[in-house]
């Protein structure tokens, strides 16, 4: 029953990735090799790895936008054979439709589902309130800031009542303050709405702030090297308090153990100054 309001609060969907292999037909190179993991309903999992380790490809495979060369993905037991509004991807860029107003962008999935206009506009109002952009419905999306556009993309993704939200580094193009606010909001909304989260990131503080577990990926070919639970109270982690720093350090250490190298490059670029010190200390 896609794009209709669920009767009661859902527990979120279970994701099972089993024996997934993927290679690019053109270059013949293996991108993913024997990837197996599960995500529990309403859990938030971060896929952490260096650029090019296949984490985005894995996210696309979970979403059904890409089909794996071998293996399968099941969401609540149902085999994923293609994209569906029940599992929605958010990309690094918001990819809003510039000829549509904010309202038309947010309500697009419901329009595709053939919902009545009154219901769509009611739902859009509700979601704009949720992402704190009340009163923006008539605005041209090109006039909004990067953070506002990403909030609209979030509202558009949530409008169709998804059970799974797949985030492909959706905040990496934003400034630090905006990024943190969105990380916090997405996590809060996912908990409130019963949505399972999978977050692709190369930013360890982001993984710590949003996820319950981190799956560390190595490259050539991409595989899951380690699964690390993220300790500490989540509210504290969101605020980046003392526990958060300990969790960051633990994840950082696990990351380096799994990948056999320090987290330089993209990790240090996007992480906080604090992490740079940690990373430098390990070099």
């Amino acid at each position: 029953m896609p794009a209709t309001r669920p009767k009661k609060r859902r527990p979120g969907a279970h994701i099972a990735v089993a024996g997934v292999n993927h290679h690019y037909r053109r270059s013949g190179s293996d991108v993913l090799s024997d990837v197996n993991f599960e995500v529990q309903p309403c859990e938030a999992v971060a896929l952490v790895g260096r650029s090019g380790c296949g984490k985005s490809t894995l996210l696309h495979i979970i979403s059904g936008l890409t089909l794996p060369s071998a293996g399968e993905v099941r969401i609540d037991g149902a085999l994923v054979t293609g994209p569906s509004p029940q599992w929605i991807v958010m990309f690094q860029q918001p990819h809003l439709y510039p000829w549509m107003t904010v309202e038309q962008n947010v309500g697009l999935g419901l329009k595709f589902a053939g919902r009545p206009r009154a219901e769509i506009s009611e739902r859009v109002r509700e979601l704009l309130h949720l992402v704190e952009l009340d009163g923006y419905s008539r605005r041209n999306v090109q006039e909004l800031s990067g953070g506002q556009q990403q909030r609209i993309a979030l509202a558009r993704s949530l409008a169709v009542y998804p059970e799974v939200l797949l985030l492909d580094e959706p905040f990496s193009a934003l400034d630090g303050v905006t990024r943190r606010a969105l990380q916090r909001d997405v996590r809060r909304i996912a908990v409130d709405m019963g949505i399972t989260l999978v977050i692709v990131t190369h930013d360890i503080p982001e993984a710590v702030a949003m996820a319950d577990r981190a799956l560390i990926m190595t490259s050539d070919p991409g595989r899951i090297a380690d699964i690390v639970p993220i300790e500490g109270d989540r509210t504290d982690r969101e605020k980046r308090g003392a526990f958060a720093q300990a969790s960051q350090k633990a994840l950082q250490t696990a990351f380096e153990r799994a990948t056999g190298r320090t987290a330089d490059g993209p990790l240090a670029q996007t992480s906080s100054g604090n992490l740079k010190v940690i990373a430098a200390g390990h070099r």
């Binding site: 697009l108 999935g109 589902a113 090109q142």
Partner: protein, 283 residues
């Protein structure tokens, strides 16, 4: 030879600058000044025409053509407007333009989408299309006369042949500018093929297709008059020929003015339509 060739001389697509933001209109003074320049331009054109008419009238060997001057022309134009003659001669021409453009759009937009969408189609069609495009539509005249049962159909064909290329090339160019992620997002939100066409593709290419249609209107209007020298006994081209044969030079000049005014109006309407559907902002 790029497919974008036809675009290079396309009228600049004026984006809706801040229309939604309610940017204040140009100030009174600058409006006054630009209107002044417009009137000055018209004034210079009329003055040159008047001087030309005076030279023709004052030379005994050309004095027979004195009715080309502005005063007799506008007197005749006024009588033609009041008697309905202007409308009577313009309507068949507008009908033929409409028919030719309808064919050009019906063929140019779908083929343009195919050319933009499929690399194979683009590569296979590039040489034939560029070759056909460079043939003057009037060169088809004898073939059109033989191929079609009525003169009218032959003229519509000639207009269509002239108008189809800008529509096709602009549409292909517009399609290639589509952000591939727009398709991914739409598929994810549950778009069916017809949603993809009507909600994503057509609005995305509308500004380019309409810019092509605007070029096509210009070409079609130019081809119309010589095409109407063919067997028909109605329309502006026929009126010009008829006025020449009956030595009514004021009627001839008045018809020329009518042709110019209608062409100007058509172009203005196209420009307005392009502005209406434009979503691209200047970087």
């Amino acid at each position: 030879m790029s497919l974008g060739l036809a675009i290079d001389d396309a009228p600049a697509v004026t984006p809706v600058e801040g229309a939604a933001a309610g940017r204040p209109a140009a100030t009174g003074r600058s409006w006054f000044r630009s209107t002044g320049y417009v009137l000055l331009g018209i004034g210079i054109l009329l003055a040159l025409w008047w001087v030309g008419g005076w030279v023709v009238a004052s030379n005994p060997s050309t004095a027979n053509f004195a009715d080309f001057a502005p005063v007799p022309t506008f007197e005749r134009l006024w009588r033609m407007a009041i008697s309905g003659e202007a409308v009577r001669m313009a309507l068949p021409s507008l009908g033929r333009i409409g028919g030719g453009l309808a064919w050009a759009i019906a063929l140019g937009v779908p083929f343009g989408i195919l050319v933009g969408r499929f690399k194979a189609v683009r590569e296979a069609s590039s040489v034939p299309f560029q070759f056909l495009r460079m043939i003057s539509p009037l060169a088809w005249m004898p073939i059109a006369v033989m191929a079609f049962a009525t003169w009218n159909a032959a003229i519509v064909f000639l207009i269509g042949v002239a108008a189809v290329w800008p529509v096709l090339f602009s549409t292909a160019h517009g399609y290639r500018r589509i952000d591939p992620a727009w398709f991914k997002v739409a598929r994810n939100l549950g778009a069916r093929p017809w949603h993809m066409l009507f909600t994503i593709v057509l609005p995305a290419i509308a500004q380019d297709s309409l810019a092509g249609i605007r070029l096509a209107v210009g070409v079609a209007w130019i081809v119309l008059v010589p095409a109407e020298f063919l067997g028909v006994t109605s329309g502006l081209g026929y009126a010009i020929n008829d006025a020449r044969d009956t030595l009514e030079y004021d009627r001839l000049a008045a018809t020329v003015v009518v042709i110019g005014m209608i062409g100007f109006t058509l172009d203005f309407m196209c420009e307005w339509a392009v502005r209406r559907v434009s979503w691209a902002r200047e970087e």
